[in-house]
């Protein structure tokens, strides 16, 4: 099988695994929608990976132990979903195609998403060779030495400790685990498969934003139709603005050139997902009274807090700042003014993992 086919299969496998993991959570945490399940599954994947990989990295275990532990867990979780959680999977597929207009919208967004994903997936100009050497050289070196980041990616010399600055980041170990278990080189896995998977998740985030901005579930047929059109135009324009906003320090640069790097993922993906979850809460503000059905955005925010630091240290301050500031007007109006203390409690809960990571960063 050619490398490109393997890479494409891996990109699809990432999305399927995220979708399956999304189904693990109780129904009210994913609203039986494929984009929400994929996004939640992606966040859950890296939250679990962070929780398993970080202690092993700190205690300098061999990479093979992590590979066995991670793939063992993934297999168990997939079996659990197939045996016990088939219903949400089937329902999410049904929800994807309820009507022809929505089918057309989904088809349009998928074409757009795939076009952007392939455009970025085939680009090899990642601008900074230093960072590329870290994000790709590190997993390659970890597999070669069977260590958790104890071989310098630049020189090939053994290190006594993992680099302190990057201690909390584990996403590069995910590539190492994939390489060790499936023999798919990180050059292919990161630059192609992971890039495509991340762009698709990002596009799902944009689609969800459009959906919450414009699609009213209980509205009349004409209004629903108009909502689909608006969502389609919104997805197109968002991509266009992002791809036309080049600056060396800006999000566009990270999105287009360094799509697979941890800090890029924090900049374009996490910020968008956090915004999307907050938007869902704002949209429900007038309709739901802290009912159980509005829990999925909270679950997403919580998982953002847990998994953000897996990608880069900037997430330590950007993720809680984004969550805190974007949610603050909602917390004030819904939580404080309307005295819905549960909202306040949830707000504290979603920020809690970020505080733990900041404390660990200072302590370790």
């Amino acid at each position: 099988m050619s490398n490109l086919l393997i890479g494409s299969v891996l990109a699809a496998a990432y999305i399927v695994i995220f979708w399956l993991l999304g189904a693990i959570l109780p129904d009210r945490f994913h609203s039986q929608s494929i984009p929400v399940m994929c996004i939640t599954g992606f966040l859950l994947y890296f939250s679990l990976f962070q929780v398993i990989a970080l202690p092993m990295k700190i205690f300098k275990q061999p990479l093979s132990y992590l590979t066995m532990a991670w793939f063992g867990l993934l297999i168990l979780l997939v079996f659990y979903v197939i045996l016990k959680r088939r219903r949400p999977l089937i329902d999410s597929l049904k929800n994807l195609f309820p009507s022809i207009p929505k089918l057309l919208l989904v088809f349009w967004v998928m074409i757009l998403a795939l076009a952007v994903a392939l455009l970025l997936g085939f680009n090899t100009n990642t601008i900074s060779d230093y960072d590329a050497c870290y994000y790709i050289g590190l997993p390659v070196s970890s597999v070669y030495s069977n260590t958790l980041e104890l071989l310098s990616p630049y020189t090939g010399l053994l290190l006594e400790e993992p680099q302190h600055f990057y201690l909390l980041n584990t996403d590069t170990l995910n590539s190492a685990v994939i390489y060790q278990a499936l023999n798919i080189h990180p050059l292919l896995e990161r630059k192609y498969s992971f890039t495509i998977a991340m762009v698709l998740i990002f596009e799902m985030g944009l689609y969800l934003c459009g959906k919450h901005f414009f699609q009213k579930e209980n509205s009349e047929k004409d209004l629903r139709m108009s909502g689909f059109q608006k969502t389609a135009v919104f997805c197109l324009l968002s991509n266009l603005v992002l791809l036309y906003a080049y600056s060396i320090a800006g999000v566009s640069h990270y999105f287009a050139y360094r799509t697979y790097e941890g800090k890029a993922i924090t900049s374009y993906l996490y910020m968008t997902l956090i915004f999307c979850f907050c938007l869902a809460l704002y949209q429900k503000e007038d309709t739901a009274k802290t009912s159980q059905d509005d829990l999925w955005p909270w679950a997403g925010l919580f998982l953002c807090g847990v998994s953000g630091v897996a990608f880069c240290n900037t997430a330590l301050f950007v993720v809680p700042a984004m969550m805190g500031i974007t949610l603050l007007p909602y917390i004030i109006s819904k939580g404080l003014l309307h005295k819905h203390w549960k909202v306040l409690l949830r707000f504290i809960l979603v920020l809690f993992p970020c505080l733990i990571w900041i404390a660990l960063y200072k302590l370790l």
């Binding site: 490398n3 100009n125 060779d129 090939g156 135009v233 991509n239 266009l240 906003a245 915004f275 007038d286």
Partner: protein, 276 residues
């Protein structure tokens, strides 16, 4: 205090300038916020406008900025707070509000086209913009250059276990593909050399004289150092292969006990022969 606020204000302005790189597409951001103010729903106004107001009161507030910078000790990463202004979503959302504000389909189409023209006219595209890093399509299914693959074949042609190689910028690219070679050059030394002139590096006492001489020849092209000295340094550090991309270095090396192991379009790999 006033001085600090002034400093913080100019720091904020500079940071935004660096972040946006004067890309004119940012003009659309405040316009989008105004559009949302008039055309958006109540919840959207709260989400976009109240949030941006809080950002200006907190992370973009010159009164508080120093506090944030000190707490997180991330002065050089302050720019990353700008990630939080999701301009692409804000602009796109405002444009959709504007387009669908009109009732007639034809007017909507015209408004949509106008929005696209604004984006294309004001913005700088990734890959194909002026003074923008170009799009480089993968040249093979290994997602590295074909020359790296050729070099790997050369480095392993003698089946040495973890050969030590002296190469420059390749250090950052080659080991992404093949971790089984040891780069004699370290990231720190390479970065130091990239930032220093020949004279500055020559006078730098951070590294031993032997190491400096090695790099003065290899990196700075100072061929006034006697070849036998350079060869002694190579064997002292047990360097197996030297990669050259310069004809002058090739000429210099050819006077040493080295042999050409192989070559690619841009590189020659010289094997350092053991002392007799």
């Amino acid at each position: 205090m006033t001085q600090t606020i002034k400093e913080m204000y100019s720091f904020l302005a500079e940071s935004f300038q660096i972040y946006s790189d004067n890309n004119r597409i940012w003009i659309l951001f405040p316009i989008a916020l105004i559009l949302i103010l008039f055309l958006g729903k109540k919840s959207d106004r709260k989400l976009f406008l109240a949030t941006i107001a809080i950002e200006f009161l907190t992370i973009f507030n010159p009164f508080f900025m120093k506090f944030f910078l000190e707490i997180f000790s991330f002065e050089n990463r302050y720019l990353r707070f700008f990630w939080m202004t999701l301009f692409f979503i804000t602009i796109a959302y405002a444009m959709v509000l504007l387009i669908f504000h009109f009732k007639r389909v034809l007017v909507r189409i015209l408004a949509g086209l106008l929005c696209v023209v604004f984006i294309l006219f004001l913005g700088v595209p990734v890959f194909w913009g002026k003074e923008v890093p170009p799009y480089t399509k993968a040249e093979n299914e290994y997602f590295t250059s074909s020359e790296i693959l050729e070099l790997s074949g050369i480095f392993h042609s003698e089946e040495l276990e973890s050969p030590t190689v002296l190469y420059g910028g390749l250090m950052l690219v080659y080991r992404q593909y093949d971790p089984s070679v040891i780069s004699f050059l370290t990231r720190n030394v390479y970065q130091t050399m990239q930032g220093l002139s020949f004279e500055e590096f020559r006078d730098l006492d951070r590294y031993s004289k032997r190491l400096r001489e090695l790099y003065l020849v290899y990196y700075y092209g100072d061929y006034s150092i006697r070849p036998d000295r350079f060869y002694r340094h190579l064997t002292y550090y047990d360097i197996d292969y030297v990669v050259s991309s310069s004809e002058h270095l090739d000429e210099y090396l050819s006077s040493l006990p080295v042999s050409l192991l192989g070559q690619t379009e841009h590189y020659r790999v010289w094997k350092v022969l053991p002392k007799e």
